[in-house]
Amino acid sequence: MSALISLVIAEHDNQFLKAATLNAVAAALQCSPEVDILVAGNGTDAVAQAASQITGVRKVIQVESLALANQLAEPLAAQILSIAKNYSHILAPATANGKNVLPRVAATLDVAQLSDVTKVVSADTFERPIYAGNAIATVQSGDSIKVITVRTTGFDPVAATGGSAAIEKQSGDAAVSNASSSSFVGRELTKSDRPELTAAKIIVSGGRGLGSGEKYQEVVVPLADALGAALGASRAAVDAGYVPNDYQVGQTGKIVAPQLYVAVGISGAIQHLAGMKDSKVIVAINKDPEAPIFSVADYGLVADLFTAVPELTKALS
């Protein structure tokens, strides 16, 4: 491999291209001048169309197969591997899907993976956070193919329109022949009309200080409504069952960097701070003046959240 060409694995649900793909393309364009996108799924014409319009994309490779419908790791990895040797870099956003499939690709290629890359220093050198973001490592890969998951908050997305890449259809045979060992059973997705947590401009997050799921609904949700915000939570609130798992912001949950992050009743364990400390503006409301969340907050208010938050909601409505 002499020429530098990147392959980005599109994040999608067969109907829509997810915005995280745009951040991964931005990272890819810093690795190589040419970037292709793989849209692997079933019934993905709209996704492939959307991918072809992304600024900076050379070619969209569309692979249609029932075996790819649910993005299972085994068939998807096999499909990526069938074209991997054409590329110097293989990237995916560091979403649940990207994290699931790319290490499988890397190990089969006998190369290392660079996880959660936040900065491309050069084509073989990258920055990535370690220890819950308490340190930033600069690492260099000597492998022939660099397999990378991209922390989306580290890269401004490229424009979703303006491009006109060709769409090339390829066979899904590689996926089909690797589709027998696992099967899809079902999915319970949280239904919401709100912006997606990782793409939201404003996030309101609740923690253990709320005391119950009912209080989360009574106090946090109306504030999020008033701000048009996505809903988040600390691990403590998720573990206590106040909200579903996909609300969790933190080292092992979602990493977010909105324009405004409002932390309500969250003490601020380092694992939570790891997931939100790159937000542009952080507001913390907590009754404990010693809470570590105040160390990262731009605006802190020591107050009883059960009176302060409704007051804030009212002031904004």
Binding site: N70, A73, A96, K99, N100, P103, R104, A106, A107, T108, D110, V111, A112, Q113, L114, S115, T125, P129, I130, Y131, G133, N134, A135, I136, T138, V139, Q140, S141, G142, S181, S182, F184, V185, G186, R187, E188, L189, T190, T198, I202, V238, D239, P244, N245, Q251, T252, Q259, L260, I270, V281, I282, V283, A297, D298, Y299, L301, A303, L312, A315, L316
Partner: protein, 249 residues
């Protein structure tokens, strides 16, 4: 059914690490070390599967320095049957650990491997997936529920939009998420019992595994600090700041 559980010795999750002044890494001298929390969940799950009569033997494995024996003893105290330490002072990266675990899974003929979804030190989230690839068997990452029946593992996974359930043909690799279980407290009698269990020490060479690191760490730095914020007196002051100073609403 034999099950292999992999555990890593890491800086305790309550410790805020410091970057060394020469930027060569983080300072872990005299810092409290513990079992990676996700791996503790993996050990607990294996023990529950044994208590349910599904698993017959739990082999716990760690790769790293000689002090990893302490971590293995903890796993034995939770309920693992025997332990293997693959001893090495080298920088063991996820691909190397996956190769070590592959060699041991083959040797032990384990039907299932459970390990944490990520280690809280390097935050890589790779080893389980890499192991599944090297063994060419299916994987279920980020597990919040595991049911084993009829040669299959039915696993509920924590994914971005909520939960997803998949079924895997065994043998398979499962990586644990936070809500799979709550590990038990280790009791003194079990700590005493654990001291008598077998702990075998092998070298990577004996497994015929190439553990050479692929990634070179150029430097490690402190993240950029957030500039200190201000405390506001009341909601009116907060709204005023957000509107006129931060201009985010």
């Amino acid at each position: 059914m034999k099950i292999l559980v992999a555990v890593k010795r890491v800086v305790d999750y309550n410790v805020k690490v410091r970057v060394k002044s020469d930027n060569s890494g983080v300072d872990i001298a005299n810092v409290k070390m513990s079992m990676n929390p996700f791996d503790e969940i993996a050990v607990e799950e294996a023990v529950r599967l044994k208590e349910a009569g599904i698993v017959t033997e739990i082999i716990v494995v760690s790769a790293g320095a000689t002090q990893c024996q302490e971590t293995l003893r903890t796993a034995l105290a939770i309920g693992a049957d025997r332990a293997i330490l693959v001893e090495s002072d080298a920088d063991l990266q996820p691909l190397a650990v996956a190769k070590i675990l592959k060699a041991l899974t083959d040797k032990e003929q384990a039907q299932m491997v459970i390990l944490g979804k990520q280690a809280i030190d390097d935050d890589s989230n790779q080893t389980g997936q890499m192991l599944a690839a090297l063994l060419d068997i299916p994987q279920a990452t980020f597990a919040s529920k595991v049911v084993i029946a009829d040669g299959k593992a039915t696993v509920t996974r924590e994914v971005d939009g909520g939960l997803e359930t998949i079924a895997l043909t065994l043998p398979a690799v499962i990586t644990t998420d936070l809500r799979l279980n709550e590990p038990r407290y280790v009791t003194l009698p079990n700590i005493m019992k654990a001291k008598k269990k077998t702990l075998e020490i092998v070298k990577p060479d004996e497994l015929g595994v190439d553990i050479a690191p692929r990634l070179k760490t150029i430097k490690v730095e402190e993240p950029p600090k957030r500039s200190a914020g201000v405390m506001v007196a009341d909601i009116a002051a907060l709204v005023e700041k957000l509107k006129n100073e931060a201009k985010v609403i």
